[in-house]
């Protein structure tokens, strides 16, 4: 009798056959193991088959769910546009500028970079899932609104902090859209 192979190989042999036939035939231990695995698989399949059922009538439900997901996505996309557009309105109106200190400017710029990176990741995902040109346009509009708000803020520290708040709202909208679209 040759040396016993690892248990995993005996299990694979029991399920799919293969090269171990001669060893298993001459080894009572491996033969018992293979016999157990085969019988176990047989019982598991029999147990699993209890839940077999017709599926043809489920297709209508799948289509309804796809349509509902599209509607949710469109609404969520609308929220993203609304959030960004509202911020743009706030920032485009004349504001009293408050000069930021150098360290505050650096902190704000760093935070903006982080937000932009996070938004880029989510935007890629959202654009991949967008099913209509309108949805892709909605995302592009939201992004443009934030860029305009950022430019309008210029060196006004308070305005730029509010741009950061805008990014946060935009990210939340994108995340909600992706979650609802699942």
């Amino acid at each position: 009798m040759s040396r016993c192979p690892p248990r995993e190989q005996v299990d694979d042999f029991a399920l799919h056959g293969g090269e171990l036939a001669s060893h298993v035939a001459s080894c009572p231990r491996c033969a018992a193991r293979a016999g157990w695995v085969q019988r176990e698989a047989e019982v598991v399949r029999k147990w699993a088959a209890q839940d077999d059922a017709a599926v043809a009538e489920l297709w209508g439900g799948v289509q309804s769910r796809i349509r509902a997901a599209r509607r949710r996505w469109w609404l969520a996309g609308g929220v993203a546009v609304a959030a960004a557009a509202a911020l743009a309105v706030v920032f485009l109106r004349p504001a009293r500028e408050t000069e930021a200190t150098e360290s505050a400017t650096l902190a704000i710029e760093s935070a903006e970079v982080q937000y932009r990176r996070a938004a880029e990741v989510l935007e890629v995902e959202a654009e991949a899932r967008a099913r209509t040109p309108e949805q892709r346009t909605a995302i592009a509009q939201a992004r443009r609104s934030l860029v305009r708000a950022r430019s309008a803020g210029a060196h006004d520290a308070a305005a730029r902090i509010r741009v950061l708040e805008g990014y946060a709202a935009y990210l939340r909208s994108l995340r909600r859209a992706l979650r609802d679209g699942q």
Binding site: L15, A41, V43, D51, A53, W59, A69
Partner: protein, 161 residues
């Protein structure tokens, strides 16, 4: 076409996890609806089956969680070594009933991994991808599921002797 080809396996797998025909239908519908939305991300059609079964598992587990029906994994007691082996006991028709009960006792994830291997006949690598687990974790969980089944048979033998 994908639905026609794969829905029976998904429906069966969903039913095996949620153990309710109506819920199994819901899980199947939701699985294919989600798969439709993510299809663009699947760059290998050959992987569709393991991929869609992975989605079905997530949907089923969500539903189980929502309904708080998940049973804690059965606590396996100390295995008593007996002269009669589980292999021999499996020849006995009564033992089949015991194994059916053990299937019900397995935690949803452990049951899923065992079914993917033995019923859906996926390879370890496919299961790892489907479950989002490492290969080693897949092997460990399959081993534990089998041990749990085997312990059930040994307990049955202890009772009947």
């Amino acid at each position: 076409m994908l639905f026609e080809r794969h829905a029976p396996a998904v429906r069966r797998f969903a039913g095996n996890l949620v153990r309710d025909p109506h819920d199994a239908g819901d899980v199947t519908q939701e699985t294919f609806a989600r798969a439709h939305g993510r299809l663009a991300r699947l760059n290998d059609d050959a992987r569709f089956r393991s991929w869609v079964l992975g989605i079905a598992r997530i949907v089923a587990l969500d539903l189980i969680g929502e309904r708080r029906r998940e049973q804690p994994p059965a606590v396996t007691g100390q295995v008593v070594e007996l002269d009669a082996t589980p292999e021999a006991a499996l020849l006995d028709g009564e033992a089949e009933k015991v194994l059916f009960e053990e299937m019900e006792r397995l935690s949803a994830d452990r049951r899923a991994v065992l079914l993917l291997r033995l019923d859906q006949e996926l390879g370890y690598g496919e299961i790892a991808e489907s479950m989002g687990w490492t290969l080693q974790k897949v092997k460990n969980e399959i081993h534990r599921a089998r041990r749990q089944m085997r312990d059930g048979i040994l307990r049955y033998l202890r009772r009947t002797r």
